[in-house]
Structure formats: structure tokens, C-alpha cells
């Protein structure tokens, strides 16, 4: 099973990686329990920075598509197929769209929405 990423594609490299791995799971090219390459191996093979691959793996683990078992390595999650079909980014966009629409309906301007959102995100960060 091979993946291919385009370094000149506007889609970020880590996002391409995530998409390709999820597609592989959905196509049954990767099955639950299959061992994935280490971050270093994949980064070297694709000639990417380790951090790019590490970010992709972190997000895939958050979405329960893969699971890391310490020194034993990284494996496809038992429920990877179901979890791969779920697109968290799409959910974020949908929810934000609904919220922004609701706020506009009550008369809030885009600038007010933007400032409030920025403030809330900063407060959450602290």
C-alpha cells in the first residue's frame, strides 16, 4: 500500500497524509491492527520534516484512526474504519456556519463576531 503526497498542492502536507491514511482505511487497504511506519521512517521516505508526520499521526490518534503502543509502534485502530468516515473538520465548519448564521440573524456584525471569537479562543488558550 503506497501513499503519494504532492509538495506543491495547496492542501497542507499533514492534511494530505491524514486524508491518504483515512482513505486507505476506508478502502480496506489498511486493516485494524496493521502496523504503520514509524514517524522517522515515513518522514524519511516522503522527505518531510519529522514534525509534519508527527502532527499527522497526532491528529489521526485524536480521531482514533491509529493508536500508538509505545515502543511497539503505531497501529491501525480497531474502529478505524468507522472513525475515518467521521470528518471532524467538516463538523467544525458546519457548527461554526450555524453559529455564525444565528449571530448574524440577531444583528451581530462580522467584525463583532470575529473579535468575540478571537477573545474567547485567547481566553481558552490561557
Amino acid at each position: 500500500m503506497q501513499i503519494a503526497i504532492d509538495i506543491e498542492d495547496p492542501v497542507p502536507l499533514f492534511a494530505q497524509l491524514i486524508g491518504q491514511i483515512k482513505n486507505a482505511v476506508l478502502r480496506d487497504s489498511l486493516r485494524p491492527g496493521d502496523a504503520l511506519p514509524s514517524i522517522r521512517q515515513l518522514a524519511n521516505d516522503l522527505e518531510l520534516n519529522n514534525k509534519t508526520v508527527a502532527k499527522a499521526y497526532r491528529l489521526l490518534e485524536r480521531d482514533s484512526v491509529i493508536q500508538t503502543k509505545g515502543y511497539r509502534g503505531t497501529f491501525v485502530h480497531p474502529n478505524a474504519k468507522a472513525n475515518s468516515a467521521f470528518d471532524l473538520n467538516a463538523l467544525v465548519v458546519t457548527k461554526l456556519n450555524k453559529t455564525i448564521k444565528a449571530l448574524r440573524d440577531v444583528g451581530a456584525t462580522d467584525s463583532e463576531i470575529r473579535i468575540a471569537f478571537g477573545d474567547l479562543m485567547s481566553r481558552r488558550g490561557n
Binding site: 503519494a4 504532492d6 502496523a35 504503520l36 511506519p37 524519511n44
Partner: protein, 291 residues
């Protein structure tokens, strides 16, 4: 009489080393290169030639000429040894002379690898590679995937047996015996091989165009060759200590030369091209379509 027979045998074996490493093997390698150039010419497989054919041919000529010079040196050494009244080569230490000569025999290959276009061959390929797509296999590679369990177990067994052998010979307190330094040297060599293998298995792809299957095959060849060399070196070390302990010094030169020839033959495995997918080096179909 026995010494004379052994001395004659040594000269025959050394002649074999000179001819094998400085004539037969370079000829075979250059023949392979020529075969590739004829079957996969630059006009149809441009990605295989990051430098012009003229530059590559010049490097090949230099490689061959250097081997001929080393061959002449070997013949001179042999003549001196035949005419010399002493048993030791150059009236020095036969094993040391053989080792130094082997280093000299490897020089043409080292010069080729470390000079343009040898060393920079893969870097040049990467420079001219204009593709923006990068591919990788989604399965984990482990070092043990590239060597048979039997071979690996043999290497470990031979290594442990060597340690026990050194401990046994150490009891006799031979003045020439280096003791556990032999184990340290062998361990250092094995660690070096391990590092080399790990670098190839987990490191960056040298050839940006190489097909995945070819890379796996090459890794298998490399790792198994390193394990074979490790076994060979351990057995050779054991043999050398044994021969010296039994005071069969006359055989050490023969054993050394045969061992070096075996190493040279095993290393030729790295130059196999059967089954290699050369289609990846063809002209880019998109580029051709756009012309």
C-alpha cells in the same frame, strides 16, 4: 618440503586474490554497467543518467585503469615474495601485507564512489528530479524483515561461540594473544554493520525514482550481505587464533587471502540488476506529452 608446498600454495592463492579483485570483479562490474547502458540508453531512460554518458564513461575508464595499476602492484608483490628467501611477505608480516594490499585493491572503487560522478550520482539524480509527488509505503519496515531468521540465529550463535573460544584460548596465556580485545574489535565491527543497516533501512531513499519493490530487494541484499560478512569475519578470527595457537603460521596467509577473496565475491551480490524495474527511469510521460 612441507613449508615449500605451503609457500607455493600461498603464492597461488595470492595470485588468485590479485586477479579476482583487481581484474575479474572490475571487469564484471564494468560489463554490467555496459549492459545497462546498451539496454537502457539515455535517450529512453534519461532519469538513469544525471550526468552525460561521456562523464560516466570517463569515470569507468579511470576505474579500470586504476585497477590495472593495482594489478601490476600485486604481481610485483607476488614476484618479490616468490624470489624472497623469507616466508613472510616483504620480510614483514604476511597478514598485514595482505590487508594493506586489499585496501589498495579497494582504492579504485573508493575513488570512484567518493568522486564525481560516483558519490554524487544519487545527489545528482535528486537535483534533476523535478517531480513534486513523493511516494512511500504504508507498512512498517523492521531490520529483521530483511534477513532470514536462520542466518540471523547463525550470526548470533557464531558470535557467542567466538566469545567462548576467546575465553578458552585465554587460559593458555599465549604472548601474542590479544585476549578480549578480539571480542571488542568484533563487537565494534558488528555495531558498525548494524548502524549501516539501520541507516539504509530507516534512512532517506538514495534514488528518488527507485521502485518500492527494488528498494526492498536491495535492502534484503544489503542486510543479508552484512550478516554474512559478520559470520565470515567471526569465523576468520576464530581460524586465525586457532592457527596461531597450533603454530600453523604458514597457513595464516592462505586463510587471510581466501577470506578476502570470499568477501570480494560476497560483495558482488550488491551489483545484481536482474528483476530491477528500470521503467521508473523512463522519460516523464507528462513532459513528453507537453512537448
Amino acid at each position: 618440503m612441507r613449508e615449500q608446498t605451503l609457500q607455493m600454495l600461498f603464492h597461488v592463492v595470492f595470485l588468485s586474490q590479485v586477479l579476482l579483485v583487481s581484474f575479474y570483479l572490475p571487469r564484471k562490474i564494468l560489463g554490467l554497467v555496459q549492459h545497462v547502458v546498451e539496454k537502457y540508453p539515455p535517450s529512453r531512460y534519461p532519469k538513469l543518467y544525471p550526468v552525460s554518458l561521456d562523464v560516466a564513461e570517463k569515470a569507468q575508464r579511470n576505474y579500470w585503469n586504476l585497477n590495472l595499476v593495482v594489478l601490476a602492484v600485486g604481481m610485483a608483490l607476488l614476484l618479490i615474495s616468490v624470489l624472497s628467501p623469507t616466508e613472510e611477505m616483504l620480510d614483514w608480516n604476511t597478514t598485514l601485507v595482505l590487508t594493506i594490499y586489499l585496501m589498495v585493491q579497494l582504492l579504485p572503487a573508493m575513488i570512484f564512489i567518493w568522486s564525481n560522478p560516483g558519490f554524487t550520482y544519487f545527489n545528482l539524480k535528486r537535483t534533476v528530479d523535478s517531480t513534486t509527488t513523493r511516494r512511500a509505503d504504508l507498512h512498517r519496515r523492521r531490520l529483521v524483515d530483511f534477513v532470514s531468521p536462520t542466518l540471523l540465529r547463525t550470526a548470533i550463535f557464531v558470535y557467542l561461540a567466538f566469545i567462548l573460544f576467546v575465553a578458552y584460548v585465554g587460559q593458555f596465556k599465549f604472548p601474542w594473544f590479544g585476549g578480549y580485545l578480539n571480542v571488542v574489535s568484533l563487537t565494534a565491527m558488528n555495531l558498525f554493520f548494524l548502524g549501516l543497516a539501520m541507516r539504509q533501512v530507516y534512512g532517506k531513499k538514495k534514488d528518488p525514482y527507485q521502485a518500492s519493490e527494488d528498494r526492498m530487494r536491495q535492502l534484503e541484499l544489503l542486510v543479508s550481505t552484512l550478516v554474512l560478512v559478520s559470520i565470515g569475519a567471526t569465523l576468520y578470527g576464530t581460524l586465525q587464533i586457532g592457527l596461531q595457537a597450533l603454530e600453523w603460521d604458514a597457513l595464516t596467509g592462505i586463510a587471510t587471502s581466501l577470506y578476502y577473496q570470499l568477501l570480494a565475491v560476497v560483495s558482488l551480490r550488491e551489483f545484481r540488476i536482474d528483476g530491477v524495474n528500470f521503467e521508473v527511469y523512463r522519460e516523464d510521460p507528462m513532459a513528453t506529452a507537453l512537448e
